[in-house]
Subunit: 270 residues, 2 copies
């Protein structure tokens, strides 16, 4: 998928919502546990109930790997279900990968070719040659961690390097990498005022923004400081939507929560 | 496994060799491709031929994920084979994971519980709360990236923060984390002179050292500057051993290469 197609979808659905599929068997409705693949059944119901309100789904690979081969099967069925039924959706493998070149190539193959995701999240610590193998894939996107929404973000990401914080050095440096136009960035919503500075460095890049909702960030503030001419934002919500209810009405309640965010977004885009 | 057990194994085998199982179907002997699970058959032969010469095996998860569910099955069979047949071996899931707290807990569950590895590699960029969930597992070890062996290491890891390079800040900061005694660190062999500085910060921690062999580092130099009282080194070699031959003699040739390194190590251990 191209970023132009993503922007078109955003305008057509009046939404830049990404729904995080962080599916934990201890949190999903108990009546699903009798099915052969509860994680997939849960995802399928959530996706069917919300696909017109969001532009992206983001399965978090940890939640699938924790269940071993069965989990990996649930992940594969989930991405296949989205690609077959809702091909307009921008899919994100939230995997936070990154390794030396030949290894990163294998991760890129895993997520872009074997699973056929549109994008994957990566960590920047190992630098240019750990990210460029992902960037080599045409019409695939590499979403690199810049400033995350957790407390630990302040351990290293905001430390000062010659007058500039590390996350800004990461943003600035990555712009010179080969096929940098395939980069997007993770920027946490809990620090909305940072978006002004970030937009000075990457004015048009898409930013994947976790931390609205469960982690306390404000949608209006993020949009005020972070929106670009092509929208340039994907706002993620996971737990606030998918665990809105743990009864038999979970999909309906997830839709209600997604609708609230979509309506706020429609107003902002309006 | 405790670090004491690891050190005991090192002295008993006169080896601190770790063999990286980065298995690429395009590089293994062609005659294996007819078997049902060529990756596992390859690993099994390598392991049977080298287990007395090394103290650790390190499957790189990317090379398994690239083959989807079949790859994950090969990984599971490999770790089960090692744990069942050679329980003294220290196993490393080279996964370079790291995410917000509840996600890191799921990764820890995946590698420590579901797959039953002794250790997993993690990336430090997201800070304390992204690593501590791994550290909470007793007698399991978390091997955090400090200074890697690739070119991109110089993009961020060696950048100066208030007079100290980022990788040193990472080492120093991590010492105050909860259960920090379960930390080990990745330090690339291509910069042996750095080990003196690193040992001032983490005098006794185990260091996993890639970059000897294919990436050009010198074993003697690493040991000269990096060895601690409890040895404290795991020297990894992947391609130099496992791809020593791509004929039917691949396991035998792998043993020859592993033996060369083990003999050098025996001499150093005196």
């Amino acid at each position: 998928m191209t970023t132009q197609q993503l922007t078109t979808q955003i305008h057509s659905k009046k939404s830049f919502l990404c729904i995080g599929l962080d599916v934990d068997l201890t949190k999903i409705p108990q009546h699903l546990l009798v099915s052969e693949d509860p994680i997939f059944e849960f995802n399928k119901a959530i996706i069917d109930a919300t696909h017109d309100l969001c532009v992206s789904y983001k399965p978090n690979t940890a939640f699938y790997e924790a269940y071993g081969i069965k989990g990996w099967q649930s992940l594969q069925k989930t991405i296949n279900y989205i690609n077959s039924n809702y091909p307009e959706i921008f899919t994100i493998a939230d995997a936070k990968r990154g390794d030396i070149g030949n290894t990163s190539s294998m991760y890129a193959k895993a997520f872009f070719e074997d699973l056929n995701f549109d994008s994957v999240t990566v960590a920047p610590y190992m630098g240019k040659d750990s990210v460029e193998p992902f960037l080599a894939f045409e019409n695939k996107h590499t979403i690199m961690l810049a400033l995350t929404s957790n407390e630990g973000a302040f351990d290293f990401q905001t430390k000062n390097i010659d007058g500039q914080e590390l996350y800004k050095v990461v943003l600035e440096t990555s712009k010179s990498w080969k096929n940098a136009e395939n980069l997007m960035y993770v920027v946490g919503a809990t620090k909305a005022e940072y978006f002004t500075e970030i937009r000075k460095i990457v004015p048009n890049s898409f930013l994947l923004v976790p931390g609205v909702g469960a982690q306390g960030g404000s949608l209006a503030d993020v949009c005020k400081y972070g929106m670009s001419d092509n929208v340039g934002l994907l706002i993620n919500s996971s737990r606030g939507i998918i665990y809105a209810s743990n009864g038999t009405d979970f999909a309906e309640k997830a839709r209600t929560e997604a609708l609230k965010l979509q309506q706020e977004m429609a107003e902002i885009l309006g």
